[in-house]
């Protein structure tokens, strides 16, 4: 029977939770990189024991860590003591934690500024990696979504990263603006049927899609609406919180927009609302069941000003018909006095049968369901605030 590994990134370190296929008893290892913010950890589908981690700090910047043994040991790819830090000309050498925007005359020159909070233009400044998405087929290839919004790619296992500058170079970059959480590429989704197609979501610009492996990108926000935006036909400016896809149906995407849950059935070309009977359609994460492409999960939050569940009841909502009709899932979840939040990267599914669903809270609990959401249990209770959760089946 397969085992399950759940990678949990928190405000103060990373944790790895493992269980057998029953998913009732869990072992917790960590903190890995104690005291650092672990924005995201994700394992390679092609080589599950290879895990990439984004370790970050407002003081000391960005570190990329990699494990090749399922999280037992970690290293920064490509670094060996004694190597020179600079070229003979004095330029810093490429390293795993170096994310430098493309400013080359050929492709980077036009991309100098984006819109700042005050409406002025502001230079792009790298802050951190929000999301690392390993390739579905090559363990040495991975994508990094970063703040300020851009996407980078490595093809050497994380030793060096290079910007896919066509995203910022789309032409609308000067109109992108930060949301309250910053301006980052926080979600990267790969089309398993077409390795040239990727989707990214940017707060607060929206969804973009490439069909040529990242050279060029197009905004995919038609049909989205926001009460704060007077022009309904605007191309960018949407605070998309998360998008999710079922691997068997890559043209269908589900989205948790700032307000509204939406879906697209044409690869993001058009979107429509499927919030239906949700008690609030504000929220952050959205995931799709591993084996049922029309079964979707969200966690409603009261509002953009009140980032906690309605009525103090922690309820996951499930739709088995692709949206509009939602049922609350409450068994095992606190139904009074609960005021935690679930961040956009903090929900995941495994690929076992029945499908396991996982989410982490800003209160440090990680909840798991081994029966597609019918019942839940906390598998760890008192971690630092959870930033990200990724589940993977192993062995």
């Amino acid at each position: 029977m397969s085992r399950v590994r759940v990678l949990v990134g928190t405000k103060k370190g990373g944790f790895i939770l493992t269980s057998d296929g029953k998913r009732q008893k869990w072992e917790v290892s960590g903190p890995h990189f104690g005291g650092w913010e672990i924005y995201h950890m994700k394992g390679s589908q092609a080589e599950p024991n290879r895990i990439y981690a984004s370790q970050t700090s407002g003081w000391f910047g960005q570190i990329v860590q990699r494990s090749d043994d399922g999280g037992k040991t970690w290293h920064q790819p490509g670094l060996k003591p004694g190597e020179p830090t600079t070229t003979p000309e004095g330029m810093p050498l490429g390293e795993s934690n170096r994310f430098v925007y493309d400013t080359s005359p050929a492709t980077g020159k036009p991309m100098t500024t984006h819109q700042f909070f005050d409406g002025t233009q502001h230079p792009w400044e790298f802050k951190r990696v929000w999301h690392i998405e390993p390739s579905l087929t090559d363990p040495n290839v991975a994508y990094a979504g970063v703040e300020d919004a851009a996407i980078f790619r490595t093809s050497d296992g994380g030793k060096t990263w290079h910007e896919l500058s066509g995203l910022r170079g789309h032409g609308s970059g000067s109109q992108w603006a930060p949301g309250a959480g910053g301006m980052g590429v926080h979600t990267i989704v790969q089309d398993p049927s077409n390795p040239s197609r990727l989707f990214v979501a940017i707060s607060a610009a929206g969804v973009f899609r490439t069909d040529d492996a990242g050279k060029t990108w197009a905004p995919k926000n038609k049909g989205l609406t926001s009460q704060y935006m007077p022009d309904p036909n605007v191309e960018v400016g949407f605070c998309v919180h998360r998008i999710a896809m079922h691997r068997s149906r890559p043209s269908t995407l589900f989205m948790q927009l700032h307000w509204h849950v939406c879906r697209s059935d044409d690869g993001g070309d058009t979107w429509r609302k499927v919030s239906g009977n949700l008690p609030s359609d504000f929220g952050f994460p959205v995931v799709v069941h591993a084996h049922e492409p029309e079964t979707v999960y969200v966690v409603p939050i009261l509002s953009d000003s009140l980032h906690y569940p309605p009525e103090g009841k922690l309820r996951v909502y499930r739709s088995r018909v692709g949206g509009n009709e939602w049922e609350p899932l409450t068994k095992g979840l606190p139904q009074s006095d609960c005021y935690v939040n679930i961040l956009r990267g903090a929900m995941s599914v495994d690929t076992l049968d029945p499908c396991g669903i996982y989410f982490g809270t800003t209160g440090g609990q990680v909840y798991a369901s081994a029966d597609s959401g019918d019942s839940w249990m906390p598998i760890v209770r008192d971690l630092p605030a959870v930033l990200s959760v990724e589940a993977q089946a192993i062995g």
């Binding site: 005291g35 003081w59 910047g61 670094l79 830090t85 934690n97 170096r98």
Partner: protein, 98 residues
């Protein structure tokens, strides 16, 4: 021998306890000390100085001999006491945040 005091997280990252001791060839400047530090502990590259510009990161400070050297030119010689190893060159994380 140059003595360097790192903040907790960077000691952790570099895998060292206590002070770091370094040999620095030539004039003992901020740049020379940091180059030598990053040469010995490449995990620290980008954590003290920005990768692209090699400028000090905003929440990092340099102290020695009870003096804030953060704004000094990186090629200015450090105090004699640091060069002799009598005093440590201290890399400090700003006290901020949670």
């Amino acid at each position: 021998m140059i003595r360097i005091v790192l903040p907790f997280h960077l000691r952790n990252l570099a895998g060292v306890d206590g002070e770091v001791l370094l040999e620095v060839a030539g004039p003992v400047t901020q740049r020379a000390v940091l180059d030598a530090l990053e040469l010995k502990y490449p995990a620290l590259r980008g954590t003290i100085r920005d990768h692209g510009t090699l400028k000090r990161r905003p929440f990092v400070r340099y102290f020695a001999c009870r003096t804030d050297l953060s704004h000094d030119d990186p090629d200015t010689p450090l105090p004699e006491e640091v060069a002799r190893g009598d005093e440590a060159f201290q890399i400090v994380g700003a006290i901020a945040g949670g």
